[in-house]
């Protein structure tokens, strides 16, 4: 019964953002009575595709069919009216209202011109009962856990004439029991005839729940598979955009191995973490970083890479474990502390956490150094220009002058500016979160060469990237992360792309 006409069919969807091809000719089909997962790395185009489907963006070309009829929703509301509903990771409800209201607001049962609270509460209980949930619906939503909040969001959708339910990263903040409960509900809804689109970064969960998988990579359609016909390892390979056979043939980069073997002056252990962890963000882990080391953090999106970096830089406070800097136990509970201890951190979110768009490139570069020096010891303009110009030159930042604002730079150059900011402080350790993301190939290579150069000078580098081949090429060792925990550390012969993938797929 399944392989009839799809309820949703998207054909040759194309969407271009300034400078980026977000989706190019992507096809997608969604069937009734099925759970369909979309998989892909960062920048694969998953969220853009969803946003086109739900009317947040409008496609540049291509068509969407709902039950065979061409549709073109121009807002989330329009999509909802067509029966396409989305439950987001950050639950889009009003925490200050009661559970019942969250289900019914906007379509409250009325009696004598006023809201009939009794009927509303009763109906809410009924809807929730369909999801096997029995809670006090008159309580404020904020009172309940995120898992319940998600159920309420689903309940709100159920009450209307939903045909398609999109679940965007619903499990990322749930514990195991809650996930199980959610999956039960999803299966029930699927069997009731709903078409469900499920987006997650958790591989295991995809295999637990999805009937069908569509893989995207760099905005391109890679393929649509039945879950049982696609082994986990192959899925990972597809997500990385390669054939499985390619991996086995990929040999370790001999030259680089030599380079790391005759490694530079060994400055000993720069930083180590013992049992460092934070509940809900990353499970306790051990880590050692030596001078001249490039430790790659490999894992899929949402595996806990960024969380690990943020813990080490003091952005999020650890709730257990210790950090040792050069063997001395050091409390790192703010970025300022981390900086003083000689650590630098380039965030993956350049726009919101890195670049000061309205400041000049020079100011962006000297900012961290200036903070370390303190307010009073202001670097003279001459000195600032000297530092900025030197780094602009050595990193090859393409700008007419250091006096242009950072907003005028391309992504890759902004990345270099952030790198320059930390290099100016002459750090011991650099944490680079996705420094190669969203920048062109040439710039990528430059940044990777830079990382190798730095490590030769005795710096310890923590390098995070979604591209396993980049991680392999740059790193001396690789820590593999999965589902918010560090699961292995690979080095030497094991350190290959397929090695990493086997580790992630096989648990070991």
């Amino acid at each position: 019964m399944s392989e009839t006409t799809p309820i949703i069919e998207m054909r040759k969807i194309k969407k271009v953002f300034p400078g980026v091809m977000a989706l190019s000719d992507v096809d997608f089909r969604l069937f009734r009575n099925e759970v369909h997962a979309i998989m892909g790395q960062n920048g694969a185009g998953k969220s853009t595709l969803i946003k086109v489907l739900t009317g947040v963006y409008e496609q540049d070309s291509g068509e969407i069919f709902l039950e065979g009829k061409s549709i073109r929703p121009d807002s989330p509301l329009a999509a909802q009216k067509l029966g396409i509903h989305t439950v987001y990771q950050e639950v889009n409800l009003c925490l200050n209202l009661s559970v019942a209201e969250n289900i019914f607001i906007g379509k409250e049962p009325m009696k004598f011109g006023k809201i009939d609270w009794k009927a509303m509460n009763r109906k809410s209980e009924e809807v929730l009962a369909r999801l096997n949930i029995d809670i006090d619906v008159t309580k404020t939503l904020s009172y309940y856990s995120i898992a319940i909040q998600q159920m309420v969001a689903i309940a709100r959708v159920l009450d209307s004439s939903a045909k398609v339910l999109i679940l965007d990263e619903p499990t990322s903040s749930l514990d195991e029991g809650e996930v199980e409960q959610l999956f039960k509900v999803i299966k029930k809804l699927r069997d009731d005839g709903l078409a469900i689109l499920f987006i997650t970064h958790f591989l295991d969960q995809t295999y637990q729940i999805a009937d069908r998988i569509t893989v995207l990579k760099n905005g391109e359609f890679i393929g649509e598979y039945k879950t049982e016909a696609l082994p986990k390892l192959e899925l990972i390979a597809r997500m990385l955009g390669k054939e499985l056979s390619e991996f086995h043939s990929t040999t370790h980069d001999e030259e680089k191995k030599k380079a790391s073997a005759q490694a530079v002056t060994d400055t000993g252990t720069l930083m180590s973490a013992r049992n460092l962890g934070r509940q809900g963000s990353i499970a306790p882990f051990n880590l050692n970083l030596e001078g001249g080391d490039v430790l790659g953090l490999a894992g899929l999106l949402g595996s806990g890479r960024t969380e690990m970096a943020k813990l080490l830089f003091g952005i999020d406070g650890a709730d257990q474990g210790d950090i040792f800097i050069k063997g001395r136990k050091t409390a790192i509970n703010s970025p300022r502390n981390a900086m003083m201890a000689g650590i630098g951190f380039c965030s993956e979110d350049r726009k919101n956490e890195g670049i000061f768009a309205e400041l000049t490139i020079r100011e962006n570069i000297i900012l961290a150094l200036q903070t370390r020096q303190g307010v009073l010891r202001f670097l003279s303009m001459k000195k600032q220009q000297e530092i900025a110009d030197q780094l602009i030159g050595s990193l090859g930042i393409k700008t007419p002058s250091g006096e242009n604002t950072a907003s005028q730079l391309s992504g890759g150059n902004q990345q270099k500016v952030m790198l320059a900011r930390w290099l100016a402080t002459d750090p011991m350790i650099l944490i680079l979160d996705e420094p190669t993301r969203g920048i062109d190939v040439g710039a990528k290579r430059e940044i990777m060469e830079l990382i190798l150069d730095l490590s030769k000078k005795g710096l310890g580098v923590l390098f995070i990237s979604s591209e396993f081949d980049e991680v392999i090429r740059c790193s001396t060792r690789v820590a593999v992360l999965k589902d918010k925990a560090k699961i292995a550390e690979l080095s030497g012969e094991e350190m290959t792309e397929s090695g990493i993938m086997h580790t992630i797929a096989g648990g070991k």
Partner: protein, 340 residues
């Protein structure tokens, strides 16, 4: 052409153009507007009056500029002006022979100290307790006027201590003395913010608080500091106000200054969204506000009606700074980009 472009890009350009247009209007429509006379070695005239009467707002605007640069707001400045005026008046005392109760410098020092404490209170609520700036300073705006009234026992205190009058009424080298206070405070602030890294840090916090934290900047201390400084500036302004009229009226001193101050800062090119700040721009902004007021006076319109015009100006400036308005506007008149 290139020169022209870089000129219009200069943040001071548009405020000065606005001021020039206002002046030009006065040149044609207000008789004797630009006449400056010399009496007893002092300069007199409308233009000098603008400088003199604008001084309190200019002083406030200096502190407000830094607060607004951090994406904050301080609406308690008017009340702090009243407190500062009240305290200095009570300490000097209304002795008819002009004998001060306490030495004048001591009285001024205490008034400033109390103003700084008031500013610190705002800073504490915003940076440590984490209240929205508007709400935090609202508290002092309400209570501050009460404090000012209680300090002066709800009476208008008249002062007769001659030396104190010099602050707001005196002349030095032919110009009102208050202008020198403004100049001194602007230079001092410019020096402290631009000759140290403070200005850069303030702008960083205003532009991108998260990135600033990640770059190791202690945003809390910076934010605390700018509110304390705003309190200080309002205190100085209060002293000048009190000295100009030689009286302290807890009810009316500094009434509505917060709007004038914010208007001056925003007209001067500092955005309400925080970021880059322009001290000289704020001074020009204050001059625009004062010229506007003076112009309306010159037309024999009741002075209070000036408020209607100012309110309209605020709405217009807000619209011009709103991205949404600009895009709507741009869409209406073709795709030309508006730069303000």
């Amino acid at each position: 052409m290139v020169g022209w472009k870089s000129l219009t890009r200069n943040k001071l350009f548009w405020p000065i153009v606005a001021l020039a247009i206002l002046m030009l209007f006065n040149l044609f429509f207000t008789p004797h507007f630009f006449r400056v006379e010399i009496k007893e070695g002092h300069l007199y005239g409308n233009v000098i009056d603008i400088l003199k009467n604008g001084a309190p707002i200019m002083l406030l605007a200096i502190g407000l500029t830094l607060v607004i640069a951090t994406k904050g707001i301080d609406i308690s400045v008017g009340s702090i002006v009243a407190i500062s005026a009240g305290v200095v008046a009570m300490l000097i005392g209304g002795d008819l022979k002009g004998v001060p109760k306490f030495p004048i410098p001591y009285a001024m020092g205490v008034a400033l100290l109390i103003s700084i404490v008031a500013g610190c209170w705002n800073g504490l609520l915003v940076s440590r307790v984490g209240m929205q700036p508007m709400i935090a300073t609202l508290i002092l705006m309400v209570a501050g006027r009460g404090i000012a009234m209680v300090t002066t026992n709800a009476m208008v205190v008249w002062l007769y201590a001659k030396p104190f009058a010099f602050l707001g009424q005196g002349y030095w080298l032919g110009l009102p003395f208050s202008i020198y206070i403004v100049a001194f405070l602007v230079l001092l602030t410019a020096f402290v913010t631009r000759r140290t890294a403070l200005g850069l840090f303030i702008e960083s916090v205003g532009i991108n608080p998260t990135a600033a934290r990640f770059a190791g900047i202690n945003a809390k201390n910076i934010i605390f500091g700018v509110y304390a400084f705003s309190g200080f500036c309002a205190g100085v302004s209060g002293l000048v106000v009190c000295s100009t009229v030689m009286s302290a009226d807890g009810n009316n001193a500094g009434l509505g200054y917060e709007l004038n101050g914010i208007l001056a800062v925003v007209l001067g090119g500092t955005s309400m969204n925080g970021g880059k700040f322009y001290l000289l721009g704020s001074i020009v902004g204050a001059l625009i506000v004062q010229t506007l007021t003076t112009t309306i006076y010159a037309f024999n319109v009741p002075p209070e009606i000036a408020q209607v015009v100012k309110a309209l100006v605020v709405w217009i400036v807000c619209l011009l700074q709103s991205g949404k308005f600009r895009s709507t506007f741009a869409a209406m008149f073709g795709k030309r980009e508006l730069s303000v």
